[in-house]
């Protein structure tokens, strides 16, 4: 997949992440492509942690896709890892992009799912234009 995103599109996507996810208490939200490229991000984490996290997120999705194939599914559209205090939610936006959200236990998962779904709907046209 070849992708160039303009400064304007990136700013719009950042605004959507802020409005739909960060304002609801999310610590960090980012988009990664299936190759592991970090497309855009908003939140508290530094780039030093985000780049490996993006690579691992893409690999995680790839690995679970194979699991899905074995049980007769094409892929899993969302993954959720629960920690003691902090959690990660992965949502497949389409075949090429994954929306990753990091949030504490005080934020309900339902809110994350709703926000991820709304954000995906708004952001996808810009990513696939």
């Amino acid at each position: 997949m070849n992708l160039v995103l303009s400064g304007e599109s990136i700013s719009k996507i950042e605004e959507i992440l802020e409005k739909e996810l960060l304002k609801n208490g999310v610590k960090h939200a980012f988009i990664v492509d299936a190759s592991g490229n970090l497309i855009t991000e908003q939140g508290e984490l530094g780039m030093e942690d985000l780049l490996p996290l993006a690579a691992l997120a893409a690999a995680n999705f790839g690995a679970t896709e194979r699991m899905a194939n074995i049980i007769g599914e094409r892929d899993f559209t969302l993954l959720f890892h629960k920690g003691r205090e902090c959690n990660i939610h992965f949502c497949r936006m389409n075949l090429d992009f994954i929306l990753v959200t990091i949030f504490n236990n005080d934020v309900p998962v339902g809110l994350i799912r709703l926000g991820s779904s709304r954000a995906t709907e708004k952001m996808l046209p810009m990513l696939t234009a």
Binding site: L3, S35, G36, N37, T40, L56
Partner: protein, 205 residues
């Protein structure tokens, strides 16, 4: 394929170290991580087994300079070399922009080298890429063992086995001593950047 972020003025590209198991792919990346300035390379991530063999991949982000006012970021990955991890190799090759094939100069590994480069060509096809046109560099590792009692392959033998059809640049190396590691990286990054900028100019992005 590469991602270009015009807001941060940055190109992200993916480089994969490929080759037979125990050939020295992780050792190459570890040398880069240990010797490069922290302004150039980020955190290294390794997913390995207790026996220190790569289970999934190693990952190291590098920032290697600027071209056309864009910062070049290269995300370096290794694959697990063991035959059983074929699915993982395919996964790591997704969206690859360049490959370093690390061949093992030990005579006993001759067949594994040949099988691994065939496996690379096959897996690239799965990504709709041709091994002949992708930026690729060969590294003949463990050359420090030549002249010892351990039987090794000559450059001529390695060239015949792996490069007679490809004709790409190769480097003799001893990754454990850091010899040839930077030369290999420099050549493959040069080829990757040339490839990306050419596509940019041709409007393929």
């Amino acid at each position: 394929m590469a991602f270009i972020d015009m807001k941060r003025k940055e190109i992200q590209s993916k480089l994969v170290y490929y080759g037979p198991g125990r050939g020295g792919k992780t050792t190459n990346v570890l040398h880069l991580f240990r010797t490069m300035s922290k302004q150039v390379c980020g955190k290294m991530v390794t997913i390995d087994t207790r026996g220190d063999r790569t289970l999934f991949f190693d990952f190291l982000p590098l920032s290697v300079g600027k071209i056309m006012d864009l910062t070049i970021r290269i995300q370096v990955y290794t694959v697990p070399g063991q035959i059983v991890y074929s699915d993982t190799r395919k996964l790591v090759l997704r969206g690859v922009d360049g490959v370093v094939f690390v061949a093992d100069a030990l005579k006993i590994q001759q067949q594994q080298n040949i099988e691994s480069i065939r496996d690379l060509a096959e897996n690239l096809k799965g990504e709709k890429l041709d091994i002949h046109s992708l930026p690729l560099v060969l590294q003949y590792n463990k050359f420090d063992l030549a002249g010892t009692s351990i039987p090794t392959l000559s450059v001529e033998e390695l060239e015949y086995d792996l490069n007679r059809d490809l004709g790409v640049p190769y480097f003799k190396a001893s990754a454990i001593k850091g010899v040839g590691v930077y030369e290999t990286l420099r050549e493959v990054s040069k080829r990757m950047i040339r490839n990306i900028t050419q596509k940019l100019r041709e409007g393929q992005y």
